[in-house]
């Protein structure tokens, strides 16, 4: 055979250039470049800026992790935002007002989140509903739950008594703990939580059999089924984990605001999906990875940071966001 396997032109280097991760990085670099040009009087070069960017994007990043799993199965979960809100409220209720300890409150919230995820997952996997409509319903439902258990008000350390007067609890240590920063104030704990989630999802997707199942289901569901892949279980896993991670994000959100806002997380799903997609994971399923999502999170994070550092006006900010997103994605497209 005259065609040499792996011909000279097809070196590992040019393959690296074509790899999705590299393209995603290229987009990120583009944004960082813009940042160092418009550095708001050097502010962009100080570590706190980056620390805060990471802190701010962490909650969205955690949602994006869960969404990555679902999207790889060629599904979608619109409920992440309101599950975040629900668990934020639940967590605040339990720990701020009912005075539960963190070790009781946290597991309960995670379970609640996972339950929400499993419900949408069940509708998709068992009842064959379209992911979009199933999770849309869950999105509305969970928001309702959040408002119901909170009575429509923010759940804070101020507890209203029967006579309408207020009594003030002090903030439990867990809030301080997760809300704080480590390593000489150099990195936010929520950021570490985010990285932990990334790591877990990475192990699942890259190392475990079930991760492979998710890719197979997203790539060709019928073929996967005929190859003995437990399709329904795989979907349940993806949506369940997505719900659980939304709950994690909810807790992180609550501890940072030191309260549970029933409106928390509204429209977060859009940002989270944008993170996944700008990272390079394909909405059609079967392709992508959590590393890409990490990069995508930083791309979006820096984008917002730069615009806010330079105090760009609302209108301009929106238009620039649109343009830069397109720019970044085109930039990764045309990496050749």
């Amino acid at each position: 055979m005259t065609i040499p396997t792996g011909s000279p032109q097809d070196t590992s280097l040019r393959r690296l250039f074509r790899s999705p991760a590299f393209r995603a990085l290229a987009a990120l670099l583009l944004v960082v470049l813009i940042g160092s040009l418009f550095n708001a009087g050097g502010a962009f070069f100080r570590w706190p800026t980056h620390r805060d960017m990471l802190r701010h994007i962490s909650v969205f990043g955690i949602l994006a992790c869960g969404l990555t799993l679902v999207i790889i199965t060629s599904g979608i979960d619109l409920a992440v935002g309101s599950v975040l809100g629900f668990s934020a409220v639940l967590f605040s209720l339990l720990s701020l007002q009912l005075g539960w300890s963190a070790w009781q409150a946290i597991p309960v919230c995670l379970l609640a989140g996972a339950a929400c995820g499993l419900m949408s997952g069940g509708l998709v996997a068992k009842f064959k509903l379209q992911p979009f409509i199933a999770t849309l319903a869950m999105m509305v439902f969970a928001r309702g739950l959040a408002k119901w258990i909170s009575g429509g008000r923010k759940v804070s350390t101020a507890v209203q008594l029967a006579d309408g007067s207020f009594q003030y609890r002090d903030v439990p240590p867990v809030f301080e703990a997760i809300g704080s920063k480590l390593f000489g104030q150099n990195i936010a704990v929520v950021t570490l939580v985010f990285l932990a989630c990334v790591l877990i999802c990475f192990v699942l997707l890259a190392k475990l059999r079930w991760g492979r199942y998710l890719y197979a289901v997203g790539g060709n569901e019928e073929a996967a089924r005929l190859s003995g892949v437990p399709v329904a279980k795989s979907k349940l896993l993806a949506y369940g984990l997505c719900g659980l991670l939304s709950a994690v994000a909810g807790i992180c959100h609550a501890v940072q605001e030191q309260q549970g806002d029933p409106e928390a997380g509204t429209t977060y799903e859009l940002t989270a999906i944008a993170i996944v997609v700008i990272g390079g994971t394909n909405m059609l399923g079967g392709k992508g990875g959590i590393g890409l999502t990490l990069i995508g999170a930083m791309t979006i994070g820096y984008l917002e940071k730069i615009l806010s550092l330079n105090a760009v006006g609302e209108a301009t900010r929106l238009m620039l966001t649109g343009l830069i997103i397109v720019g970044a994605v085109l930039f990764q497209r045309h990496r050749k």
Binding site: D52, R153, S156, A158, A311
Partner: protein, 296 residues
Amino acid sequence: GKGGEPPAAGAPKWTIGMSQCNLGEPWRVQMNQDVRAAAERHPELKVVYKDAQNDSLKQRSQIEEYVNAGVDLIIVSPKEAAPLTAPVAAAYRQGIPVIVLDRRVLGDEYTSFIGADNKKIGRAAGRWIVEKLGGSGRVVELKGLMTTTPGQDRHSGFREGIKDSGIEIIFEADMKWLEPEARKEMESALARFPAIDLVYAHNDPGAHGAYLAALASGREKGILFVGIDGLPHEGQVYVRQGILAASFEYPTGGREAVEAALEILSGRTVAKEITLLSKVFTPDNMAGGGELLKDD
């Protein structure tokens, strides 16, 4: 009540339809609470609540529904002036009294308007800040959604308040009334400016978000935080906790609305325009329940 609503216990004399433009904001939740609290004290009243989810068209059809249902009086807290002018006028012409709460409608085809004046509050906040900072200082302004009249008024009023003083606005950003947004923007301000004297936010959650940002970078001590709304479980708490240097009350007028409604239903007339007085809460006057803003 005739028509629309499910029958209620104790057969009240009058049914009031209350249309709230959006229950997303705590302040509006509070408004409904105040109406409810006031109405509970009058068994002859029955109040039906509807929430338009921030959609003028939806609110419009709610007014239409109340008219079709033949309620005795309508309390509406409009999302927008223009789109609700027509339905309100229609109801008014059909002889259903309409009390407009907080935001106005165009023209004068309504029974009574009850509301506080955002511009005035903004101005008061401005003056208070000038005084507090001794005439000059570096201030960050975190604005509410600038497409809304409250945002615009709290901004322009504030600017009037600090006119020809040494106050300098070093950073302003739109935080869309949202705490996380406010925190994000404040982080940027902190990263850029080593010295910030005061943060003026268009609502208390905004001020709180700014405080959290400062706290995170250990600079909360050197900065004063001022917010607006002064809700009992929000701004007032922050003031009491010493987080906010001041919170300017933006009264909901819920109670006043119910009182006016009773007047109207029992055949008496009420003023076409009822402007609510608002208070400022500071750590010093908290015990005394805040102090009324002096009228200018």
